[in-house]
Amino acid sequence: MIALFIKFDTTTIPFKKNAFVRLYVNKNKKKQSDLVISDRIGLIRSIKNWIGKSILFIITSASTFAVFFIFYFIFKDALPFFQIEGFKEFFTSTRWYPSGQPDEFGALSIFVGSAIVVLGSIIVCVPLGISAAVCLSDLLSFKLRQIIKPIIEVLAAIPSVAYGFFALVVFAPLLQNNGGFVLSVGTWMILGPLSILFSVLINEYVSQLLSKFIKINTLIRSLIFIFFVSLFIFFTYVLALRVSGIEIASGTNALNVSIILGIMALPTIVSVSEDALQAAGRELREGSYALGATRAETIIKTVIPASLSGILAAVILGVMRAVGETMVVWMASGNASKIPDPWYNVLEPVRTLTATIAGDMGEADHVLGSSRFHVLFAMAFCLLLFSFIMNLVSEIIVKRSRKKLGQI
């Protein structure tokens, strides 16, 4: 009997039942059949528990199955293309004539198009996103943050096709008709603040140099400052004037798409890097303040280096968003499969992987099983692999940074 008790105590039967059984057994020591029944109830319960748990587990692993299925089915349909056409043409040729006689599947220019668009969007969204994230985490009060956060959420919520519509119907005609004006406004917006920042820095440097020869007072400092500011502003003005003479042949080009994709990737970058900045912790900031650093110095020299890996992960996620975006590039990139000349000329139309898949599938549908059909899966597989690797990298980065911050 005692052995039985011990066995009971260690089984998975809930405590309440267990206690009841023990009491019951103590009173009627001879009725062993009751104990047997309780044992069976316990067994049934633990089996039920186990079954329930496994059902839950199977449902939970649905997303795992989904990922494996996606990889398998995309790969299965991508494989025939490489078997028929081989790798060399696909990755090295720029001649994309899937419906020509003979058909040619050189996708290099499409890969380059994707890369150009993504690079452009990074240039747009990374500086803007990181400074916005810094602002949100360190500069603004709680109340203001509550007002501004919905702006970011709305930016993230607007459907991609609405962005595409905007790019095609509003932004592209604007670029086409008033291209020079838009470009010069852009130049001012980028170089205007930078020129003031630079002149502050250079002013400091020059007055330090001069202080060896003459005594520097406020008047001289401000004179130097004004000189440099006007120099930079003049330079910006000349550049903007040059730029405003440019005529854009077609509004649907890489620049248009880059800007819109940059805006679309902004919310991801802002929210993820804000989390990273917050995770850097109060102690770090307070230590820096205690050493006499200003807020800007604290952020640039302490907080950002500490959360650099998180920011990197944010940038990667933003890049993934831009790479995988379909509708905007399909509608507004111009869909010309050639490498721009020179390659950084963003005013020329480009063609990206996603747009090619979306656009060509409609025609390829009818010829199921041809390499024209499978080449699109090959492209999708490249996209999938890229996003998978990027995702893993960002996960690893985030994990490492968490460990590191934990150690501090």
Partner: protein, 448 residues
């Protein structure tokens, strides 16, 4: 470094941050403003008599007597146009052939334009296409058309260094000294009494079927298709997502398998949406064949995979946010684990779960790429509930793309495109607004 410089740098740094936030806000306004402004014009606009005719003929709306009165008014003012056209026809017959040839193509163009502006003349045979049976429906389009009639637009390519320039010259110059000369000032002065513009609130734009490929009527089939797709996706994704979140939060222990599952969830979140579309085509349609052709079912299944990670993550967060004491209290009172989850944790986490659900509903409603190959068609009737299992449907996101790139009269139905984008954005933003207010309430409750 000098202290004043450091302070200045600090200030300018703050200014940079603030201006980036401001830039973001301005961008949002710049994107939303044209969509909202032009989109609302699909609902509220100055409708002409032709619009009321369409409404009466095809949607049984409007008062017959009033319309008949308006029609007779309009016909008396329009009569002059038709008369002078007839006169000019007579005049043409009297001309010798070389002179006639001079007018021929230009005059044919002119007649076509008049027909597009006012509709076919009462004596003409009724055209087959609906779009040819009526003139301009909207006052803004009428004015544009009128301008096209009054001025011939030509591109000037004489300067090879720059792009071609648009040059306009009055069309009246072509017809000096003929019977048509008087028509131009008459058109310009009497256009209002010929079209009778009236402010119209056409809310039925949302609930009307489209006529003649969206040139008339509303967007109901698209709206309905979007609703079906979204709800279908939620139907599959919601139970899967919530159960997965429960398992991950309450039952799982950290191990190799769980971390694999987590990696897979984040991978799934990162898969490009177009790849989901291809997968839906390859798996749901070509392999297990949930339906013969594209169908709402296949589209909803594809979309549900797309939003699954979002739902799992937000539900997990909501479950984690439930205070531990709740759970411990329930377990301490002797409830089993499952009972604790169902009766204590889920109700407490429900608002948070709903918030995530609503946001992912917005995502599902707006996604285009996954439904291109699995569910969407360009034109179609409103779909029935049973039809969702077998039939494809028009859907807002896809038709926005389709109308603004592939439609034959892209410029003339701008208002429909804007109206669709406006409707879609309104649906998505409304869902997000619900989510935001819900979350604000929750955080207030949690703070006490």
């Amino acid at each position: 470094m000098n202290l004043s410089t450091r302070k200045l740098l600090d200030k300018s740094f703050s200014g940079l941050g603030l201006s980036s936030i401001a830039l973001m806000g301005i961008t949002l306004v710049l994107i939303l403003a044209p969509i909202i402004w032009n989109g609302s014009k699909a609902y509220i606009f100055k409708g002409t008599i032709e619009h009321r005719k369409v409404m009466f003929d095809h949607f049984d709306r409007g008062n017959y007597d009033k319309l008949a009165n308006e029609k007779s008014d309009v016909n008396t003012t329009r009569n002059f146009i038709y008369q002078s056209l007839n006169n000019f026809d007579e005049e043409l017959k009297l001309m010798d052939s070389s002179e006639r040839r001079k007018y021929r193509s230009e005059y044919r163009e002119f007649k076509k334009q008049i027909k597009e502006l006012l509709g076919p003349s009462p004596t003409d045979r009724k055209p087959v296409l609906i779009r040819q049976q009526y003139g301009q429906n909207r006052w803004d389009r009428t004015l544009i058309k009128l301008h096209e009639i009054l001025y011939i637009q030509e591109w000037d390519y004489s300067n090879p260094d720059s792009m071609g320039e648009l040059v306009e010259r009055p069309r009246i110059e072509e017809y000096r000294g003929t019977a048509l000369e008087a028509i131009f000032p008459y058109l310009e002065n009497n256009i209002e009494s010929m079209m009778l513009p009236k402010w119209t609130f056409y809310w039925q734009f949302l609930t009307d079927k489209s006529k003649d490929a969206h040139i008339f009527g509303g967007i109901w089939p698209e709206v309905l298709g979007t609703i079906y797709l979204t709800l279908g996706a939620m139907l599959f994704a919601l139970p899967l997502g919530i159960i997965a979140a429960i398992y991950l939060c309450e039952y799982s222990k950290d191990g190799k398998i769980i971390s694999l599952i987590r990696i897979c969830i984040s991978t799934l979140a990162g898969v490009p949406s177009i790849v989901f579309g291809l997968f839906g085509l390859a798996f749901f349609l070509n392999t297990i064949q949930v339906s013969e052709s594209k169908s709402v079912l296949a589209g909803a299944l594809t979309l549900s995979l797309l939003i699954l990670p979002t739902i799992i993550r937000s539900s997990e967060e909501a479950i984690m946010a439930v205070p531990r004491s709740y759970k411990e209290g329930a377990l301490g009172l002797g409830a089993s684990r499952w009972k604790t989850v169902v009766t204590i944790i889920l109700p407490a986490a429900l608002p948070g779960i709903l918030t995530g659900t609503v946001i992912s509903m917005g995502r599902a409603a707006g996604e285009t790429a996954p439904i291109i190959f699995t569910a969407a068609v360009s034109v179609g009737a409103p779909i029935t509930l049973l039809g969702t299992l077998t039939d494809p449907t028009p859907a807002l996101p896809w038709n926005i793309y389709n109308l603004c790139t592939e439609h034959e009269a892209v410029d003339e139905i701008r208002h429909v495109q804007y109206g669709m984008v406006f409707t879609l954005v309104a649906i998505v933003l409304l869902l997000n607004l619900v989510a935001i207010t819900m979350r604000a309430k929750i955080s207030k409750k949690l703070r006490g």
